[in-house]
């Protein structure tokens, strides 16, 4: 301990080039808060949208121009800007860009369509109606999304447990708020927000408890020093290591929605405003898996034989429960939530291979799944009946006849989720399953078998929806797909193009992921 405290104060060295993307994002978020404070109400939506998009684009440029040539462990071991961190940060920024575009959809109205005009008004109250008439808008959602993105960027680069914990909170807190701001079915949205918040706080406590135990074990919160302590410490201290590792992993597995820590997923996904659901599903999953990769491959790799089987069981349970429960769902958003649970299981299979190809496979999967998910939720937001979102499956019957293009695109995305060849779903499943068979041992093979069976079950679910959309007589009702603006069109187009390109020519991105799969210590 005394060695950690220098006698004279030394300022920590900062590699500003390496952390430039994060600084740009948080700077944009702070300006967004100022805009909220000073700009007149009528200009806020436009100003916030331009500012947010420009911020994320600038962060992407900063990432490629400054951070990529500057791989470094900086800020006194707090951040490791290495291959996986940069790959996932770029992925997250792209998800953020598409997510913000989807959030900005107005469908011809005055303010963003998915968000309530006034979060503080009671649902269904005269005040809410008055706020709608007055053209109010919750334009705070844009800075909140940027703060969340800031937390995610730190989360995938966090090189010690304290930074990781703070990043976890920074990324979660704005999401809890955003979840409760839906324009329609607001009680459901507020309930979802509260559930997400309470369970999220609960999982943070698990993470903290585990981090405290690991600190007790190694005398440090740095992943590097924890890894060193695992090799040098006597086995008398192992009573701290294993509970610590398990509790930290529980805290992180909660965020990806692995069974049995998934119970918040369907409720939060259903209640949240649909573009937020898409952003959560894509970006939170990418960020959380980035952190799990770093913990598993940098911090706890040496002790992996102690906890590998446990996480393997969680992966198996996640795939089985996610696949089986998605069969029984009648709501599109809940169905996609359970599908995201199953996908978390597939990604865990690749993660447990402990192989460079496994890291590359996981990162490839996150990109492919995230882009398809963002597009899928953007489409869910378009399907309406009587002004509210038509999320019940029965409302989707015969949609293929009324809106062949929209239903066709959604069908293609579902095929990708099912893992049909020539879509990104197939190549990404291959990218995580192949390393598991190659270097995952017996457990890897077993998990892949379960994964393939679970994929078959989920494929049944997706085909059922496609059959429902195309081969069922449409009931005489007013379910329509709204005409999207340029923003949503971009999101859907990017999602569809990525799904096809990554399915047909996955080599480029896979190579990029492989080149980026080395952690810096």
């Amino acid at each position: 301990m005394s060695a950690a405290v220098p006698a004279v104060f030394e300022a920590v060295k900062v590699d500003y080039a390496a952390i430039a993307p994060m600084l740009v994002v948080v700077g944009g978020a702070l300006i967004g808060v100022l805009v909220e404070a000073v700009a007149p109400r009528s200009t806020r939506y436009g100003a916030q949208l331009v500012l947010t998009l420009a911020t994320i684009a600038a962060a992407l440029v900063a990432l490629f121009v400054w951070a990529v040539p500057h791989k470094a462990v900086t800020l006194g071991q707090s951040l490791a800007i290495d291959g996986p961190a940069l790959f996932l940060q770029a992925t997250l920024l792209v998800f953020g860009l598409l997510g913000v575009l989807a959030m900005s959809e107005r469908f011809g109205g005055k303010s963003a369509d998915a968000f309530t005009p006034m979060g503080a008004s009671s649902p269904g109250s005269p005040q809410e109606a008055a706020a709608t008439r007055a053209g109010f808008a919750t334009s705070e959602v844009f800075p909140l999304a940027l703060f969340s993105l800031f937390g995610m960027l730190i989360f995938v680069a966090a090189n010690d447990l304290i930074t990781m914990f703070v990043a976890l909170e920074v990324l979660s807190l704005p999401l809890y708020i955003l979840t409760g701001l839906a324009r329609r079915r607001r009680l459901l949205s507020q309930e979802a927000s509260l559930k997400y918040f309470l369970l999220g706080a609960f999982s943070s406590a698990f993470f903290l408890f585990g981090a405290a135990l690991l600190y007790g074990f190694s005398g440090s919160s740095d992943l590097k020093l924890i890894a060193r302590a695992i090799t040098t410490n006597s086995s008398q201290m192992n009573g701290l290591l294993l509970p610590g590792a398990i509790l930290v992993l529980i805290g992180l597995l909660f965020k990806v929605g692995a069974v049995p820590f998934h119970s918040w997923t369907p409720d939060a996904y259903q209640g949240a405003p649909t573009p937020i659901t898409g952003f959560m599903a894509a970006a939170t999953k990418a960020a959380a898996f980035g952190a799990i990769l770093r913990i598993a491959y940098v911090g706890l790799e040496v002790s992996r034989w102690d906890w590998r089987v446990g996480v393997g069981l969680i992966a198996a349970a996640t795939m089985i429960v996610g696949a089986v429960l998605s069969v029984t769902q009648t709501d599109v958003k809940r169905l996609l939530a359970y599908s995201s649970v199953a996908h978390a299981g597939f990604i865990l299979v690749g993660l447990l291979s402990f192989d460079g190809n496994g890291i590359a496979g996981v990162m490839f999967y996150l990109v492919a799944y995230g882009l398809a998910t963002l597009a899928a939720f953007a489409i869910v937001a378009m399907i309406r009946q009587g002004g509210s979102e038509a999320t019940h499956l029965s409302q989707w019957a015969g949609l293929g006849r009324k809106h062949p293009v929209v239903a066709g695109i959604f069908g293609l995305l579902l095929l990708a989720f099912a893992g049909i060849p020539l879509t990104s779903g197939f190549t990404s499943k291959f990218a995580v399953f192949a390393p598991a068979i190659h270097s995952g041992g017996t457990m890897g093979v077993l998990l892949v078998v379960i994964g393939v069976l679970a994929s078959a079950v989920t494929a049944y679910v997706y085909f059922r929806i496609i059959v429902l959309m195309y081969f069922t007589q449409a009931p005489e009702d007013d379910v329509v797909a709204l005409t999207p603006s340029v923003a949503t069109t971009i999101v859907v187009t990017v999602g569809v193009l990525a799904t096809l390109l990554l399915g047909i020519v996955p080599g480029l991105l896979l190579q990029l992921a492989q080149d980026a799969s080395t952690f810096l210590l």
Binding site: E10, L30, Q77, G119, L240, L242
Partner: protein, 259 residues
């Protein structure tokens, strides 16, 4: 130099430790929010004492300031908003949930106790040498603004998010113009009702609280004199006992004067 705890510290620990555990159990099991808050305050103060006993003076003081000061104040503000009398609903919505929770919690607790109990801990490092060489506060400052400066700065994003979230979720902007006193008065006169304003709550010889209605000339209490919020919360008392006491005193005075 041994950093093992001395006798005094051990005695302190074994007296205050169980109290801290009791306080935290009270936080979980107390049915009234006020009792839970007091249980938490007890636990937090005792933790602060422990830190000070272990030479971490700065941490101990901050613990008392932040938790028993700031956090408990927030807790009490929330209690003021929801009402002191509010208590948890104890209805079990999912059948068998409480039993399953108890089993799982005891299982987890047992596993953790077994694992942590099996560890042979090395000699505690302690902070005595740091306190003597660098100084307690300086050493903390060097870590916070040196090694952990990034985390320290990032925390500000958390605070801004919290402030922004509170505004989004709780701040109601006024839509349109509200009525001022003049408007209200005009409206009363136009409608011809309560032209002189609503009656004030009851004022009795020994009592003048706002939750006690005033009496009409015929002796019946008027609900108009009590805030409708109190009526909705069912917190209105009846004026009977004050009236009875007054009558009794009046009676006694009469008796005395007639004697």
């Amino acid at each position: 130099m041994s950093n093992a705890p001395g006798t005094g510290e051990a005695v302190l620990f074994w007296i205050l430790g169980p109290l801290a555990v009791l306080g935290s159990l009270g936080l979980i099991f107390a049915k009234k929010a006020v009792h839970a808050a007091l249980g938490m305050a007890l636990t937090m103060i005792i933790l602060g004492i422990f830190y000070i006993a272990q030479d971490a003076h700065f941490l101990g003081v901050i613990q008392v300031f932040v938790y028993t000061g700031a956090v408990m104040m927030l807790f009490l503000f929330v209690l003021m908003l929801v009402g002191v009398d509010s208590s948890d609903g104890l209805l079990e919505t999912l059948k068998g949930q409480r039993l399953a929770t108890a089993v799982l919690v005891l299982g987890l607790g047992g596993l953790l106790t077994a694992a942590l109990g099996s560890v042979t801990y090395p000699e505690p490092a302690g902070v005595k040498s740091i306190n003597e060489e660098t100084g307690n506060v300086s050493a903390m400052a060097e870590l916070i603004f040196g090694r952990y400066v990034w985390v320290f700065e990032v925390t500000s994003a958390l605070l801004i998010t919290a402030a922004l979230g509170a505004m989004v979720l709780a701040h109601r902007e006024r839509l349109g113009k509200g009525r001022n006193q003049r408007d209200w008065s005009k409206r009363r006169v136009l409608r011809g009702e309560y032209v002189a304003g609503l009656p004030a709550p009851g004022v009795y010889a020994r009592h003048n609280a706002v939750d006690t209605p005033a009496l009409l000339p015929d002796g019946t209490p008027t609900p108009l004199s009590v805030s409708r919020v109190l009526t909705a919360r069912d917190q209105v008392t009846t004026p009977e006992r004050y009236v009875e006491a007054e009558d009794r005193i009046a009676g006694q005075i009469e008796e005395d004067s007639s004697r």
